[in-house]
Amino acid sequence: MNAVPMRSRLWRAFHQLGSPPYVYRLAGRLAPWLGVASCVLLAVGAFWGLVLAPPDYLQGNSFRIIYIHVPSAYLSMGGYVLMAVAAGIGYIWRMKLAHGVAVCVAPLGAWFTALALVTGGIWGKPTWGTYWEWGDARLMFELLLLFLYIGYMVLRMSFDEREKADRVSALLAVVGVVNVPIIHYSVEWWTTLHQGPTLIREGGPSITMDMLIPLLIMLAGFSLFFGWLLCKRLQGEILRRERRTRWVQNLAVEAAA
Amino acid sequence: MTSLEVRRGGIGLLRDLSFKLSPGQTALVTGANGSGKSSLLRVIAGLAVPAAGRIDWRGSAVHRLPPEDRGEIAYLGHLDGLKQEFTVDENLEFCRSFWKGREPVEPLVAEMRLESYRHRNIRRLSAGQRRRVALVCMRLKPARLWLLDEPLTNLDTRGTEVVIEWLKGHAAEGGIAVVSTHRPKRLETAASIEVAL
């Protein structure tokens, strides 16, 4: 294949992603697949991780919370980056749909951040003595991330005009993403400065295959679940934004018929 | 050649508006309250981006104008843009040095009858006097395109006459002006085109 049709195809794909009816239908088509796949993966991963995997020799059964904690922590950060990238694309190319994606990601990311915080706290309780230092700093990092999500949503709510809310909040999202690596590394520097790097070590033995495979399955399941929720929310957001256009009105007529 | 082309379409207040101005022309933008006069001027100034269409100043889009060329456009909105804590002279001096204006201040101040207020704080001036200071400030910019949003607000007959004279002089020198007003009668004599919204 030569370069020219390839480029024009990419260009067309980019254009289609800016078209609300196309994305609405795409999200509608993807959603059921994502939903079924995520349910299967979550069921398999949960059974494997909670029942089949052996207990940790240091922590006993309490380690099993990682099957929820790690995927939600990963999604809390990944979600923020996704939100910031979408908002940045929306700001630079004045693409309303990208702002719509950022709007949909924000509450999802905030919920997963809260979930990571709660599960982290529950996990921290039985393992308090060993890695309090590590847990404390990482907890603070997650908490600041939650505040960034909340700040983004509150800033949006305080504007009457959607377009201005889109553009101003996009800048906040982008500024916040600069902060994510800073906070992340500051945690390491902080601990290093305080106690020396020997404290940052794995809590138990290095993770075995029996524990790792269900964790990977749960990560995939959580990601697809996130994608499923995002598709459903995005459909709603598109309808809300495009409610005055003809294609949405036709859709409503079809649905009523 | 200096030319201005405005096309604005899509959603919002104004739809498919299009006009072109050549040197020496003064456009009067008229319309009722809320018809989009101020929005049009803000878009021409490059403060806001049009929902569709584009505004060209000498062949390049106005909101992408490099800062060096923005000195050619002077905008006076419905806010005067003066600092309350500064005196008339301090405000004018900042205007002049920031915009690197070469026009002498004295004659303009005299024309607007502001001589005796020069050391008074803006806070202690009346609304009409503030408008006069803002107009002098606008004149200090070495601009070829004037964008005046309701310049006659709070001005008395004498002030109105000065503005009309300025507009005529500006046009005679080959300058362009876009002036919005909801009372076109008072500015008719200075206008060469009327854009009714």
Partner: protein, 222 residues
């Protein structure tokens, strides 16, 4: 280029001194918080010494938050901001000058007041140079963050209440490194590590902050 920075800087400084009560309020606020703290905790010398660094840094953070609302609000309400946006200089440069002016009236006085507060918390005299150095490196970052928050909320009537929510989560690194430097200095240990980190955060903030702030001002007043 430099001419524009100088003009805006002089203008803002002169304005700040004409409204000196507005300028002094955050500083008095800083002194009051720092002196109320021993009332709220206990005036025990050992305890004050151990919490002194945290109190000074939290007070500095809160007082810089108090100083920031007027940064763009006054200019946007009287129409000056529109003129500056349309001015013959890049808005990022104008914003940079305004941030420097804000730092000069809110950050620099803290460099004088904080050591006094530190002494009252029984911090050793030898730790003061390090405290001043840490504050000198941290306050520019705080001013930049303040500017971003002020710009994002400039078109909102109740902007002041939201700024804290937007900005405080971003001050984490400054707080961590600043407190750490002060604590190490009080123990007589080397503080170069956290000072370098504060400096790198400041470089990042001062180089990326002004263009982002300029974009936010432009967008908010669009």
């Amino acid at each position: 280029m430099l001419d524009v920075v100088r003009q805006i800087l002089l203008r803002d400084l002169r304005l700040a001194f004409r409204r000196w009560s507005e300028m002094a309020t955050p500083l008095i606020f800083f002194v009051i918080i720092a002196s109320l703290f021993p009332l709220a905790a206990s005036p025990d010398e050992a305890q004050l010494r151990s919490t002194g660094a945290a109190v000074i840094w939290m007070s500095a953070l809160l007082s810089s938050l108090l100083a920031l609302d007027g940064l763009f609000r006054a200019d946007s309400e009287d129409g000056s901001m529109e003129q500056l946006i349309l001015g013959p200089a890049p808005l990022g440069l104008v914003v940079f000058a305004k941030i420097v002016a804000h730092w000069a009236v809110s950050g620099v006085p803290l460099l004088v007041l904080a050591p006094l507060a530190a002494l009252s918390f029984y911090l050793p005299l030898t730790a003061l140079p390090e405290l001043i150095a840490a504050l000198a490196l941290a306050t520019p970052t705080l001013s930049v963050l303040a500017a971003i928050g002020a710009a994002l909320t400039v078109s909102l009537r109740a902007g002041g209440t939201i700024i804290g929510l937007l900005i405080l989560p971003l001050t984490g690194p400054v707080l961590i490194f600043g407190t750490r430097a002060t604590e190490l200095a009080a123990l007589g240990e080397p503080v170069a590590g956290p000072l370098y980190l504060l400096a790198s955060v400041a470089v990042l903030a001062v180089s990326l902050g002004p263009p982002i702030t300029a974009a936010a001002v432009r967008t908010a007043l669009e």
